[in-house]
Symmetry: D3
Subunit: 268 residues, 6 copies
């Protein structure tokens, strides 16, 4: 169960409106690796967890924090849209190329659909969808996913940082950068502990079942040759990589039978 306080986790107020930056920030809100993806993935994983309370609580703690980030970025976007132009005449645009750029580059749905507030989508207006999240029940795999989420998110925030000079926006991004450092590090920590317990390969208990003669061969299906550098190197599980240039097909030709006539496949 959750409680909400009206106060924001951190400052989210720009120095001045900027509808182009409002559009860009939608990536951190409703993009593939945005805050909604973090929130819904970590909470789902936390609820799915039946194991060590340490990890379950880590997931719930951070999933709940991401909701505050969703709130901060939504708030910031609305601030950035204050007073944004609804349209401009040709003459107005001719006089002011900066206005023309805003008219050309802002998201028209910010005005038409949301009345100059945030949407749950990325800068191209693609609605957020749960295909961005992961909750598999397997803690090692999911902790790895969480590290990726924080990595891609922090990468995007870093790029966004250089897309504005606004001190207020940058202040918020500096906070998010720090939190995404923490989240990367905590999920790496959890991942490493879990790998120690369950093995570095996910899942850890299928080794005897897999065809082991193919489990440490870098088969090179491209001709660049650079991948040969991995040959002989030691993998994380202690075994060595072999390298196979130009691998051969081992499987023969498929010979599927024609389908039932009532399927009308016209295939022989």
């Amino acid at each position: 169960m959750f409680k909400h306080t009206r106060k924001l986790q951190y400052n989210a107020k720009p120095d001045r409106p900027d509808p182009l930056m409002a559009r860009r920030l939608q990536e951190s809100l409703g993009g593939q690796w945005g805050e909604v993806t973090g929130m819904m993935s970590y909470l789902s994983q936390g609820w799915a967890s039946t194991g060590d309370e340490k990890y379950k609580d880590l997931l719930l703690a951070t999933g709940t924090e991401e909701m505050a980030h969703v709130e901060m970025i939504s708030t910031m976007i609305a601030y950035l849209l204050e007073g944004a132009p609804m349209h401009a005449t040709e003459e107005e645009m001719r006089k002011d190329p900066a206005l023309a750029a805003v008219i050309g580059g802002m998201d028209p749905e910010h005005a038409i659909v949301h009345g100059m507030t945030a949407g749950l989508n990325n800068p191209n207006g693609a609605a957020w969808n749960a295909g961005y999240t992961t909750s598999s029940g397997n803690l090692v795999a999911d902790m790895r996913f969480n590290v990726v989420r924080e990595s891609e998110a922090r990468l995007q925030v870093s790029r966004l940082y250089y897309m504005t000079e606004d001190k207020g926006v940058r202040d918020m991004l500096r906070f998010l950068l720090a939190r995404e450092t923490q989240h990367q590090l905590q999920f790496i920590k959890a991942q490493e502990e879990l790998e120690e317990k369950y093995g570095v390969i996910v899942p850890g208990d299928m080794k005897d079942i897999e065809h082991q003669e193919f489990s440490h061969v870098l088969m090179d299906f491209s001709d660049g040759g650079g991948a040969k550098a991995f040959e002989g190197q030691t993998a994380k599980d202690g075994e060595k990589f072999t390298y196979q240039a130009d691998p051969e097909a081992m499987g023969g030709l498929p010979k599927n039978k024609p389908a039932d006539k009532r399927l009308h496949n016209n295939q022989g």
Copy 2:
């Protein structure tokens, strides 16, 4: 540029048809973490790469291999659908509950849309989409993503393994398990080398910009208490985690202004 050989990379022939298993295998073909996701992610990353040939070639080598896996699983699914029932009368189902289960549980689109061959979708018929892939331009982040892709994929193959006793299907899955071991290990290797060069936190050059007072604090927004276990532990970057129970809001109340009257927000 690519060349194709009609021979499969490995065996992909079941002992006997099984339309329910055909449906389940669609996860490894067109699901979020299926082979198409691997193929399109690694190739995109390879084409985007401007750096060390070692990693560019690794990505292209493996992306090309995944295409062979897409082919193998497509072939297997068509084999598993050979002779599958198009429908059954109530009487037939009453006599044979196993037939009834097949009618109930197989994907009706396998027959209606694909004439008993594979579709590019998951077992619930959701079309594969590129929102499953990642190609960010940043090698550390993307290698981490690739490790996740191989982890979630191998996890799913492991589960699929226990959903059939068919020796032919299991033979193919044993091969895929092994390849996903190799792919996990090679991407982990690449990730670790790149982390050594660019730093463990993605991206590695924003430390001076982030608000560092918040970059090693586990803020616990949930009340389970288990996450306190991270307090004082050493993070991957050598610094120590602090722990903050019940964190306070630092950001004050948002005070967005009412919008332009022509937006009709009816808000004050």
Copy 3:
């Protein structure tokens, strides 16, 4: 069954082309609350209806009208795209910022995909999808949905009205505003009649089943305090609201069991 006349329901001709306005109007065509949503929702509800002819016919009457609106807006968009630029050189854009804004702000798919005619999508190019529609079989719920459809649609048309000075476009929008007034009013009328018959709460016959001690309590999970204003007020069903600040959890800790080992959840 339907018949079509080539004549439009109302005027749909702008004074002059305006590719930016063409893009914006896509919201009323293929956006979440656009005319396609109205048409497909009302027709589906009409076909699903087994009850009073009055409501079935109202739904079919209006669903069929919406198709004429889809046609009018499609026609208007094509007019607005007449002679739109396919591209411009840097020099041309440098000379004419209004041209630059058009190049920057028009939908490139209007040219590339549709040859300067309308698409079935919103201004950000998101394809219309049936997840925007509702047809539940329950008339009260669906009439309420229809009122929302007309409300959000009219709101958007009102905003679009202030995004152009073109008399022809505004003439069409004035017509649509009026029709959406009628449609709001007629669906409100139907809704109120149906509420009188079936109860104000949807569905009306589950009162004895629900846990009534929780059915008139405003539980306040946020700390703003403003919601306390509802305390003691009379609800539409005649009962009074109580107000609960800072509600407590009543449900205990979940204790799900670890899953079957063959699912490889690594969770205890």
Copy 4:
């Protein structure tokens, strides 16, 4: 900002597992009108609100409560999946038709993707997407949407109630029914207050602009005749409906010009 407690808002424990019911409950979690839709709509509206604290707080209070419902249903689904079969042999299914039905009817992704825990999707595996939500900036329109959300959701919970005899599941559904009664009533209350202030038609200030000769005419584009019953009735705004059978086209034939030759429209 949010805080989470590990305790559930209410009981969410079934008497016994039931993988078919687990699948059905996905509708209330990740379906079009499920709890995620409520949570994300109300919170977005609350954050977008710049007006009366009463409504802003109502939205934030209820959006936060919905998160607890997401948590309860996720928990319940995981309980219902405990010990669910991963597959069954033909012989086993032949012996036990109930097992066969489970194999046929459960969601295979519950096992393959989520390790027998909940997904953020509906019973057909369609990922939840933000196209289900609404946050327009206009309070009257959005309150109406919220009433619909609670109506459709309560309707679905009512149907789900009759799809199980499990006392634990029914206990949770009885609680949700009550909360959705409260939420319907509170949003109706807010809607009515706002209508009084801003007018019953959304938006309230475009009356002078619309073509009023078309704003109270029920144009009947279908031939059933039932809709004539509205003729002469008084609309919510006090005016009377007129009725037009077999309405005529008023707009003439569209005459769009052929496109630029470089678009290759072949429409000469």
Copy 5:
């Protein structure tokens, strides 16, 4: 503008309910190649057309007919769902495997979401989306698309025909088969006339611009050898195909430059 009559274009009444067949028929309603796709594609093309009235009217005539098919199939699905079970106990399923199959195989959203009426989706519950439609402005290309729409649709109806013995369902399918014969033939006729006028290759006026040395070479990137059979055959435009086995790369190695440091690509 459109008018609707309550009468159906043709009979749409089954002999008896069959929820499994109801689910299957959703393909012809809301699937990729279903009637909604036909209706929305042909109408959009008709509205976009600026050329010969013959083709514009053909498109509008047929688009309007498809709406009647949407109506017929929606009606049929509701009939087939009459009295369908909402669920069954284990004991009931154990006694009646046919009931078990229905419970397992019917679409649970038919009950939960639509109250036993049709949805705008395919049998796997995927919402219809406008990415299934085409309206390019080019008549030759779009007529070809329309031929495909009718071909795939008639193929699916043919398969559906063999999935039931119900005389009422088959009667409707026999009608649809005939209409799809007509539609295939009329669009083929239009296509051939237009090809005669504008050329067999779409678009017809780019021949002098393309690199003609590559326009009649079957480059064989696969090793099966079967495609060699096209060598020397005469193409539709009168020229002959040449055949190139094992084609060489002509384009050299790509050498993209590393990106701006502020993008943090970590790539050299």
Copy 6:
């Protein structure tokens, strides 16, 4: 199984960067009719094929070539994005309208998400999805689809050709135009051969089953009259079209029964 060579199939290097053209080219990469659609459709059809090796090999040959096109366009897009601006200040935009147009018109996700490399989406950022592909098992239908794919794709490339003056971009487009000529012609050839064998109507063996009295009637549901021109013309199957103006409904009124009370349809 596939092999990859680092060399491109053909030149893919622009004379100079152009981020607006980069965005436009995304249509040919990840749009509805782009190269990914070709590649995934032809390969799927090839793998599904059980018939004549000639067609199976044709499909695999061309599907594999399309992958080289995906690679070329991805490479070109990255070249076109070299040095693209991440943002610009108002002052900079005011000084340089061409820069303003770029800021307004480029895809912000090229920078934020992909670090100035290609994405698997169309110019509006819609992720590619497998609903764009077709693989039905029926060769005639699918060859027709392939002709459409090449027609729409070549149409779009022709439009893109006139959206740039860059010689390098145009060189690549000239190559693609030629290949799409070849692919149109080869698929037309295959289609015609298959039609000769299996009949011009898909599928060819349902004639005796369909209601033939409706299979050659152009029913005109629109009032333009232009479609009458088809009357008496000879269809591809040798029979003549008849023409029916203003067709009558043959199906009577639907009379679906009210649903089970537990569905709460309120329609009784």
